[in-house]
């Protein structure tokens, strides 16, 4: 990019951002409507998009932690409580750490296997102590 183009682009961006900063929320809402865009829809789409980025980040971190812990933690199948109890434990863990829940959010109905797998993950991650939930 030529120096002139870069300076021109930076000037355009600086002017537009300053103007946007000074515009009121009502004005921006009215402008979106003028451009044929629904302000609520735009806000919702941005929220969903950011939510996916956060969820992906959390998933990656959980996967990395799991990979490390799996090598050192012994199998836990024998000490699993009932499926109903597992659901309660997982829901309680997510209430305590909502950010963790975003790593598992996939928008679909959870099968019993999903609940069990999530429960196992939470144990691996040290978020749930299996000794606390023996039936």
């Amino acid at each position: 990019m030529s120096n002139e183009s870069m300076k021109s682009l930076a000037a355009m961006q600086a002017l537009m951002l300053r103007d946007l900063e000074e515009a009121s929320d009502e004005q921006i809402r009215a402008e979106l409507a003028e451009d044929g865009l629904d302000s609520d829809l735009v806000a919702r789409e941005v929220a969903e998009s950011l939510d996916s980025v956060v969820a992906e980040f959390m998933r990656n971190r959980v996967a990395a932690t799991k990979a490390v812990k799996k090598a050192t933690v012994s199998p836990i199948e024998a000490i699993r409580p009932s499926i109903q109890k597992i659901k309660e434990i997982v829901q309680r863990a997510f209430e305590v750490e909502p950010n963790l829940a975003s790593a598992y959010r996939n928008g679909t109905k959870q099968s019993d296997d999903d609940w069990i797998s999530t429960y196992d993950d939470l144990i691996l991650l040290g978020k749930v102590d299996p000794q606390d939930h023996v039936d």
Binding site: M1, S2, E4, S5, M6, K7, S8, L9, A10, A11, M12, Q13, A14, L15, M16, L17, R18, D19, L20, E22, A23, D25, I28, R29, E31, L32, D35, S39, D40, V42, A43, R44, E45, V46, A47, S49, L50, D51, S52, V53, V54, F57, M58, R61, A64, T65, V68, N99, S102
Partner: protein, 214 residues
């Protein structure tokens, strides 16, 4: 996985995630609009992609868990989240524009030792092949980006008639003049300046909702 603890100044990942979740609809719309402006001249075709990248890097930087090839920027708690994400977007977009120079610098570094001598681990043929091939690919890529950016700038300029005060305000801003100096040089009032600036923003909003012209 070594995770750094947040400092007093920098937020924790939980605090950042919470701040992102608590963005108001108005703040999200502002970030959307800002992203579209900042994506101009970058590799991002839409502001939303640029915003997503900014959030991703903020998460990486704030977690302190940066893996190979990842780039991150921690969120200092004292900075408003909207201002922080806007600056992240600006920085990423600028980095995207300058990536060619960085790639050349990295390659030059790889081809030499710490003392600046030729790296003995690479044969002469490897040196030549790696540098020539990579440089050709990068140059071609950069030329494409450069052309696209110049096209974007030219396309926006063309949206305003010759002699329009918007061009002169842009030139003054590009030359590093203050708002007052530009107004004085052009002999325009604060209201006329604000009107022209708004006209620039709204024209770009309407004609370039993403990076490319409608």
């Amino acid at each position: 996985m070594a995770v750094k603890r947040p400092t007093e100044q920098n937020a924790s990942v939980d605090e950042l995630v919470e701040a992102i979740a608590k963005l108001t609809p108005e703040e999200r719309v502002r970030l959307y609009r800002s992203g579209n402006f900042l994506a101009l001249g970058s590799e991002f075709t839409h502001g939303k992609d640029l915003l997503n990248e900014a959030v991703k890097r903020a998460l990486i930087g704030t977690s302190g868990d940066r893996r190979e090839g990842e780039r991150g920027r921690p969120w200092p708690k004292g900075v408003h989240i909207v201002a922080f994400l806007t600056e992240c977007m600006r920085s990423i977009a600028n980095g995207s524009q300058k990536s060619f120079k960085q790639a050349v610098d990295r390659r030059a570094e790889a081809l030499t030792t710490d003392e600046g001598d030729g790296n003995p681990e690479l044969s002469k043929a490897q040196h030549v092949q790696a540098s020539v091939e990579a440089e050709l690919v990068d140059r071609e890529d950069q030329e494409t980006k450069q052309k696209a950016t110049e096209d974007d700038v030219a396309a926006i300029r063309k949206l305003f008639a010759q002699g329009d005060v918007v061009h002169e305000i842009l030139d003054g801003e590009a030359a590093g003049m203050s708002t007052e100096d530009i107004r004085e040089a052009l002999g325009i009032t604060a209201t006329e300046y604000a009107t022209a600036r708004k006209r620039l923003r709204r024209t770009v909003d309407k004609h370039m909702p993403g990076r490319r012209l409608k």
